[in-house]
Symmetry: C2
Subunit: 335 residues, 2 copies
Amino acid sequence: MVTVHDVARLAGVSISTVSRAIATPEKVADATRDRVQSAVRELGYRPNRAAAVLRAGRSGAYGLVVPDLANPYFAAVAKGAQERAREHGTGLFIVDTDEDPDLEAEAIRALAPQTDGVVLCSPRAAARAIEALDGRPVVLVNHDVDGVPAVEADHRGGMRRALEHLRALGHRRIAYVGGPERSWSDRRRRAGLAEAANRYDDVEVVELGAFRPQMEGGQASADLVVASGATAVITFNDLVAVGLVDRLRTRGLDVPRDLSVVGCDDSYVASLVTPPLTTLRVDLRRLGRTAVDRLVATASATASDVTPDVPVLDVELVVRSSTRPPGADHLEGAP
Amino acid sequence: MVTVHDVARLAGVSISTVSRAIATPEKVADATRDRVQSAVRELGYRPNRAAAVLRAGRSGAYGLVVPDLANPYFAAVAKGAQERAREHGTGLFIVDTDEDPDLEAEAIRALAPQTDGVVLCSPRAAARAIEALDGRPVVLVNHDVDGVPAVEADHRGGMRRALEHLRALGHRRIAYVGGPERSWSDRRRRAGLAEAANRYDDVEVVELGAFRPQMEGGQASADLVVASGATAVITFNDLVAVGLVDRLRTRGLDVPRDLSVVGCDDSYVASLVTPPLTTLRVDLRRLGRTAVDRLVATASATASDVTPDVPVLDVELVVRSSTRPPGADHLEGAP
DNA sequence: CGATGCGCTGCGAACGTTTGCAGCGGCCGT
DNA sequence: ACGGCCGCTGCAAACGTTCGCAGCGCATCG
């Protein structure tokens, strides 16, 4: 293994100079730096991370904790985050907690000590999670806790847009199929929806209980939606919408003929199912990127100057084929 | 920060004993071990990873390199791998290379030094990749290189099953929509398909060129497939199949009425699109799990006893609604 | 011309752990 | 009863890096 000592010997300098030439090039004379650099190249020297971390106390790497990598939502966030971390020249360790609060805490406890900070995406037990990474810099995505830096999507605006879209189509009774009980996004969406509904006295919202944020959740919700008498439904995410559509179909009901459906997230599944889903788009890559940016900023800040403002990413309505006026077969042309 | 020294002092032993009580409990007297353990608990001691790595030369963590986390195929493999790593009590660092051979090599170079080994999933430039992690243990998934341990799916058997299924339905001219040029899986599938076709002199296979392994690839292939005169098509993966179906639909063609489609991988999209795809299932979670198992085994083996055999996971045909006899409207009941 | 300062470099001490080696009893076999 | 062995423990030396401190030479200023 080639170490600073070897490089130092070849370059004819001390190991301190080698270290500095690499970490803080501006603090070393040009000629010396060049000598060191060519020695590094010649020997193929690569600094030993562990030693650097041990001595310096920081790792130059960050962590990302997500509930489920197989969920296209989190996969997209993870891609964005990793992309940005790469641009920052730092590593990013991705951990999947399988939607399990216990695993979440455990994963964080394992991850935290070897990182300079962690992005916590849609934590399932935020309090425990934050406790687990005791004091280490953290950025929350789609969650908020008092003074903790965060990044979020504008769920309120999104819900308003979805509701106004449906109302414009003529829907007056709209169901909401909610996500996991502990989900902060779900709470925000409910709140946003209620608020939007309040602005119109001719629209009624029916909130339906907690469902798993996967297809099964949507399937499970379908019969409740039908029974609710709603003519349109907004779901916690696209996967739920897909499950819902699927179950309706087996009951002989058609989307959008019998029910209009609005998904959430515009993950790529939204456009590949039949019918393509009207959905709320949030730029997930960007969400991940922004989170990493904030984390890097937070971690390298002098504890004093933490900017407590929360970047809010726009949520935009994407209209596809899963929404149309209620009971309005004539508009689409007769079969 | 609480260190071994603090624990040692509280437990009334030396730091060596503390270290041993944690790493190799069987080498320490029961009474001593208990004292140490309660001291650990009382102080909330957590070993400093960096120090351990530095001294011991191994990190107790592995790496997983995948081309694209947003691809449900790799997401599933990653989940399996992470799950298994957790069970082994080791960490797993997941890196997404964006299908880019340069990033792949770079990522590996960054990853390798801080891990005990790497799982390389569908590498885009295997030779460079292996060189990049010079000498470190590695397990290949869906790829093979001379004596490197690997895990793979039985593409040959899968292709045979797909072809026999289509032939049994009455298809005689079958197209194959291939994946990326550099894809090993693609080469295996072509070979398997050719071999299977050779067993029957009444079946003809039309191989179509390289396409991106996403929806766009499928969309791009559709017109070629139609022009080829095939009545059935097998695609590189489910996403390609979905794109293909989509493009056919905009041309007014229906699946399976006008063309039967078999996907690959049985990723969850296969069951959620319309029509649900007949596809080749491989247990991706298990693929990831097995890869980690092999890696752990390889890494902890005494260089001499590496088992060079390659576990081959079964590939199973899942029949859904995207395949049926050619031009056989009557079989399905008239509209 | 001497003092002051600054830019650059080297020395050496950490950082917290693992592990080879040796010592110390006690037990067993002869 | 004594030698040897074995199970357990402690000592101390690494592992490769970063960084505070100090020294050195040179230029600038008084």
